[in-house]
Symmetry: C2
Subunit: 403 residues, 2 copies
């Protein structure tokens, strides 16, 4: 019987306990909470109530101090909170510390240091290649199977789920246009991704080995890397996407600790090309994650991208990101890249789902190629957990508004 | 007669007063200082000594609170400090607050929020185009004259002048190589740039107009965007440079306030292509800066790039960066892009100076194509100031070391 009258099999049961930062409606004070069903538990008060020494780490307006504390502490805090919510002896003390989600405001759970975005789904890369370079030979570029392609994004415009996204304006130029025109993007898209949150920093000049992934990365979240395709196609040569992506990136309000996802670990797809030693994971423990993502547009599921199909793992991405000596900071965030599976209904962007607008989606409220004002996009996901339970990931949702 | 026995015409006289953060040798405490000749003045103690209300803003381990305070306060603080160092009545009180530069440690003067790098020298872009796309028609890509091309870099690896730079390792692949090889970069380069420091933030969804540049940008510094050309050429398609740049970016320890550079403002080069309204500065006050940069390799000047030749101004870069609604934060840093003038000895990178290694530089200690271990690169600069004085910019220097 789950505690606190949670329904049997709730994906946000005591086996999950993702972390967030909330404030109670009417009070401005932010503090760390863990999600339990459709409630949030005041994590520091709960820790204090059961005599844990870690209460001060949780009595903060951001997760960063917990992130920085390192893997041993992460485990201890998690064990403490699991004990708190499962031992009936604590029930009376804890019930006043649970607040319905409807009565709290959820905030960006951590201060984002640097934000990097990868491009690690082979299916996505092949789709994008086929769309943008039709008839151009192999849809994958020559470097793709040798390294996880990535680039830096804008950390300052990462926003929490529920934040409206203002349609960006910018320059675009169709091939036939003599000069670029300026205006609101007419090809506004989503990218369904998973974001990884770095806890423990590293020293500049010292790469982080593949095997040290879980010493540095605390957990993951869902991430929507909003993308203006028309702005992107005009600006991106030769230095990559810039304004097409920098206006907003949405993340879920809940960070799922990697420890909650032990049962979801799976081997990544077979490596078809030999890897350089710093990326070679053929002898490593499984570093993929079996996350079942769902993309809903105005409440209608339009895609179900399987994260287990990602070619490059988060461990490889971290090893690559740091192999040149780039240091990590607490709060660094990196996105997996758009998650697309092999099937048509597993594509993680409208670019792919509509084949660059050629094949509109038929929704109950009309056809869609790219996003219209008022559209609400929601990513949700779950992963296999212990004892046949599901581990729910916090959803990430955003609505498009005019500027 | 300059105060405090400064030599006549010192480029770091009372007309300049760049800001930095220092600690006295043997003490760990960081505080804001202004440079006066070869000394640093304790800025908060000086403000206190003359009864200024702004002392608390300067009694911090970083410039960020001053940056956030806005243009009116920037002017007041500057006026206060100019008065302090020029009025003989204050001399006795201030002399104990001056410390020789040799007896202090200079720190990264502000917490970098996001770091963006532009590509705004037409001469540099044409040289790079001619080197990488020989015989490929116009060396400038079609978008170049329509928008200031830029991309995000890694904020967490921005380091202060004097910090050693570890030669990065990474993948490279010559066209003839069947597969990429891994190892220390063999084509390590510099990029001589000017960095602009944002003080006043902006709201997500609200672009910053061209005319509001000086409401948001506090000052500038010299910046060396170290670049591993071999890593770059293999990784950069299709999402731009990543590890080739993210290992280190060096900035000078002194931030020169824009107010010290009023006499250095010049009109940018003639705009050869019509600009969209948000970038059109043809009717604006001059937004270029006449900074005379010098690049020294192991003490030998190898280039003198003139910043006045930059096609895109810092005001245009800021307007472009935010036109999609991307917000600014206090501490945002953006680089001008490599500064290269029209003449051979005005090129801001070894890539251009040696024409991709074809024409080695002849230095007293041997030939150079790209950087060798132990090499020290120093950028320095000055600008025209009031009354025929020069405004010195703080140098940015770094030495290449093995990992």
């Amino acid at each position: 019987m789950p505690p606190f009258d949670l329904p049997e099999g709730d994906p946000f049961g005591p086996h999950n306990l993702p972390y967030g930062v909330y404030s109670r409606t009417g009070s401005g004070e932010r503090t760390v909470g863990v999600r339990l069903g459709d409630h949030v538990l005041d994590a520091s008060a709960a820790a204090r109530a059961i005599g844990s020494p870690h209460a001060p780490l949780l009595s903060r307006p951001t997760l960063n101090p917990l992130l920085a504390a390192g893997r041993t502490t992460w485990s201890e805090v998690r064990r403490t909170l699991m004990e708190a919510v499962t031992d009936p002896a604590h029930r009376a003390a804890l019930e006043p510390l649970l607040h319905p989600l409807a009565e709290v405001t959820l905030h960006l759970p951590f201060e984002v240091a640097d934000y990097v975005d990868f491009y690690s789904s082979e299916h996505h890369a092949r789709n994008a290649g086929a769309i943008f370079r039709p008839g151009g030979g192999d849809a994958l570029l020559p470097n793709w199977k040798h390294l996880p392609i990535g680039y830096h994004g804008r950390a300052g415009t990462v926003v929490v789920s529920g934040t409206d996204v203002v349609r960006p304006s910018g320059q675009r130029k169709a091939p036939a246009d003599p000069v670029p025109v300026f205006g609101p993007s007419v090809r506004l898209d989503i990218e369904a991704e998973v974001g990884f949150v770095v806890g423990v920093p590293s020293r500049q000049g010292s790469p982080v080995a593949l095997a040290d992934f879980r010493e540095h990365v605390f957990g993951l979240c869902l991430l929507n890397d909003w993308s203006a395709r028309d702005i992107q196609s005009w600006e991106y040569v030769p230095l990559g996407p810039f304004l097409a992506k920098s206006f907003a990136t949405s993340v879920s309000a809940w960070i799922t600790p990697l420890e909650a996802l032990e049962e979801a670990r799976v081997a990544p797809p077979e490596r078809t090309d030999p890897l350089l030693p710093y990326l070679d994971d053929t002898a490593s423990e499984p570093a993929g994650y079996d996350l079942r993502i769902s993309v809903a547009l105005n409440g209608h599921v339009v895609s179900e991208p399987p994260f287990s199909t990602m070619y490059w793992t988060a461990a490889q991405q971290l090893a690559h990101l740091t192999v040149n000596g780039a240091s990590l900071r607490t709060g660094d965030l990196y996105g997996s890249g758009t998650v697309s599976g092999p099937a048509d209904h597993q594509r993680g962007s409208l670019l792919e789902l509509t084949w660059n607008g050629r094949d509109p989606l038929e929704l109950p409220d009309g056809k869609r190629t790219f996003l219209e004002d008022g559209d609400i996009v929601t990513l949700s996901a779950w992963a296999p957990g212990p004892d046949g339970l599901r581990v729910g990931l916090g959803e990430v949702s955003g609505r498009i508004v005019t500027g």
